[in-house]
Symmetry: C2
């Protein structure tokens, strides 16, 4: 990752991530707002088409609810045919939260975004039901935002139709940053208004348990 | 990760991973066979209980079908009460394969092990159906082993009951090693006998597509 960043002429991305890349001679940093992923990607592809070397940065893993899919989306434009795209993996937010908690995703799991900005709520709800019925551990990205405050309560209601109120839930906030916090609760006790855009949730399978050593999901199903 | 490995007295794990940790004075490397995860974890906890500092290593991310859950499983034994366990995340195999292919897990996805060594096949099949019906991207760990050759064909059959034969499938083999290879096929064209224990599969959602720039799944569902 550092090697790739050392070789580029431009860094493009959401401001907090761009600012983590140290300034150096020959590097131009382009910081943008959130929620303009495809514009940002097209801007990067424009630079690359003109022969510049460009890195688009994300938090966590760019391939997991990061900028990678937005870059491929923008690259569908024939204007960018011939621009080479390479994705470098990183540690995703779900893995950072899981490791801090113990081993909650130690068995089959699903990863979903709760945002209905890019898909209808009916699709979110259908997927929540499928994951709950199959008793998969579920990591939830984007559980809330400034404008989306109701979804997490709606999601809990849907999950509680298929899962026990005793199901273990891990709430990670700002994990990997100085102000990080982690709490362990249950699906029945989870307080939706306490969940904001900085949170990532891991909702356990029926077998997920809390031990003195940490939260973990057995590898086996008996 | 390197900082943690520099501080331990012992490294414990499956031989190929243990041998990646450079030998140094004061470090004892304990290499074991595969498929004895909990014995290996108990061995590590025994050392730790006697005051030794021990690292248990896995390939990819220890928290994703790696050794972390096995360590927590062994740590349930009251003999190990008081042994502190800390998990450090890494880049999992699914992320390594995804990044090499493009952005196939750019939307909601599930990660499953196809092995029926630790869960009944009926559970595997039920989960495959749920994931397929919910149109999640699906990463498949342990698609085959020396003794398990039939599961991947059975899984394809189940998935084809719910998904199109045109569904994009990425097959990564030994990704991250010198001998790595990657191929892109479809669910209908996938050749089960070609899949072995070194493979990780990513079965696309209905929207997953192959572009000149790579394989990607749109973030949106319309």
């Amino acid at each position: 990752m550092s090697a790739a960043l050392a070789e580029v002429d431009h860094v493009v991305g959401y401001a907090p991530y761009v600012h983590r890349v140290p300034q150096r001679e020959g590097l131009t940093r382009h910081a943008s707002g959130n929620t303009v992923e495809v514009d940002r990607a097209a801007f990067a592809l424009d630079l690359a088409r003109r022969g510049e070397r460009v890195a688009v940065v994300s938090g966590g893993d760019a391939g997991v609810f990061g900028m990678a899919a937005a870059v491929f989306e923008a690259a569908e434009d024939p204007a960018y045919a011939g621009v080479a795209v390479r994705v470098l993996p990183g540690v995703s937010a779900v893995q950072a939260v899981a490791a801090r908690a113990g081993a909650p995703v130690g068995a089959d799991f699903a990863v979903m975004s709760l945002s209905d900005r890019l898909k209808p709520w009916e699709v979110v709800e259908k997927r929540l039901r499928a994951v709950a019925e199959a008793d998969l551990v579920l990591a939830i990205y984007n559980p809330a935002s400034r404008s989306r405050r109701e979804q997490i309560a709606m999601a809990c209601k849907v999950l509680l139709e298929h899962k026990s109120a005793e199901t273990v839930v891990v709430v990670g906030r700002d994990v990997g940053r100085a102000e990080e916090s982690l709490s362990v609760t249950t699906l029945g006790e989870l307080d939706p208004p306490s969940i904001d855009m900085k949170c990532l949730l891991i909702v356990g399978a029926s077998s997920t348990r809390v031990s003195p050593a940490g939260v973990w999901t057995p590898r086996f199903v008996r």
